[in-house]
Symmetry: C2
Subunit: 237 residues, 2 copies
């Protein structure tokens, strides 16, 4: 019964399935703490439970979900502490990437970086309050592109992959929400991006590294605070 969704008919079905599930968790369509029922997922994707289970094992290895024996899989609920730890590591790695990117910076790449910032500037007033499961906003795409570009400029696959792995351990839409929620955060974020571009243009590796490091740390702090408020709310309700 191919109810809806993406038609997974290619050869790498398990990997595709894992991506599909990951995307639904990332977007918030499947919220934090939710149970992942194998039968349900199988029905929605129009496949049997076997590839579902293999896909869940992949997500488990990445730390996005937790598989409890005989109790099924659950989307992990990151603690503020975990978020801070992860973002300290990510800040270091993104800083390194930014430092390395200085060596490879070109006018074209700088222009593309500025392009992403233009999008951020234009969308300072977001069109709609993004709820969970909403399609990824232009702002988020521009943000991602900014970072991804720098990862590519760093010219180290493992570095890019490591950063990606850390990011994918947390439902990303959450961080997007944090950023888009508060106009002040958006402004800070844009200013930090612009300082990073300036440092790259000046080919000041140390400065670029420090700016990127601080930028990621600031974002992590906001995200951690969001989780703090969230857990506080949960305990009250």
């Amino acid at each position: 019964m191919d109810s809806d969704a993406t038609s997974l008919d290619r050869s790498a079905l398990v990997d595709e399935t894992a991506s599909a599930i990951r995307a639904r968790i990332m977007s918030g369509e499947i919220p934090i703490g939710a149970q992942l029922r194998q039968a349900e997922l199988a029905a929605q994707l129009g496949i049997s439970r076997t590839p579902i289970r293999e896909a869940l094992r992949q997500l488990q290895a990445g730390g996005l979900i937790e598989v409890l024996p005989r109790r099924g899989a659950v989307v992990r609920v990151p603690s503020p502490w975990e978020v801070r730890e992860a973002y300290e590591v990510r800040a270091e790695l993104e800083g390194l990437a930014c430092e390395r990117a200085v060596r490879r910076v070109t006018r074209t790449l700088l222009a593309e970086l500025r392009g992403t910032n233009d999008v951020l500037r234009a969308n300072e007033r977001p069109p709609a309050p993004p709820g969970p499961g909403a399609p990824v906003s232009p702002t988020t795409i521009a943000n991602d592109r900014f970072h991804t570009l720098i990862h590519e400029m760093a010219g180290n696959e493992r570095l890019a992959r490591t950063i990606r792995d850390i990011n994918e351990a947390f439902p990303r839409n959450v961080s997007a929400l944090v950023l888009q929620d508060d106009p002040r955060h958006r402004a800070d974020n844009l200013a930090e991006h612009e300082r990073i571009v300036a440092a790259l243009e000046a080919e000041d590796a140390k400065l670029a590294r420090r700016e990127m490091r601080d930028h990621v740390l600031a974002a992590g702090e906001q995200l951690a605070r969001w989780y703090e408020r969230r857990t506080a709310t949960v305990f009250r309700g």
Copy 2:
């Protein structure tokens, strides 16, 4: 048919299976490039192919093995380039860990670090040439303990996990072999460890970071060279 091996009867069978297979790859018992036959592994572990396949997905997510559609799983053969990239990242992360460890250093921990170095010093002449699949040597254990201790001292779970993930992407016995092969490498390794301990004792965070960074980079370079020689040999033979 429970032929031999470890009796996997607990509830987290898939995770145990993954660990078992990983251990056999890490030790070199299953060499680089080898095919992982599901039926064979299942028979050896006395279970069916289903948990084997899930375990392979976990290993695939870690990057240790590669799963080609319809062609089964193969232990990845890292290129020297990949090794250098990975060790650049690892060097940065271990350097960070070492820098952070300065804040938490105690006499007890310093003593334990020195203890691992004593083992390295005592075993400058390794008892037997370690072949693939050999049990882990005291030297390797001491080496691991040295690094693990510092990771713990850093007090950041994610950092430790990230470093571990990178390490586990390469069959570890290879790097152990590289170290133990050449007396000169062993001596260098020991001297570097001692400099790191000295920097920790002096509570010089920046120095500790630099020493650890250089140490890991040096090890990575040796490992990359080993892979270069290996691929050269393979092409000849």
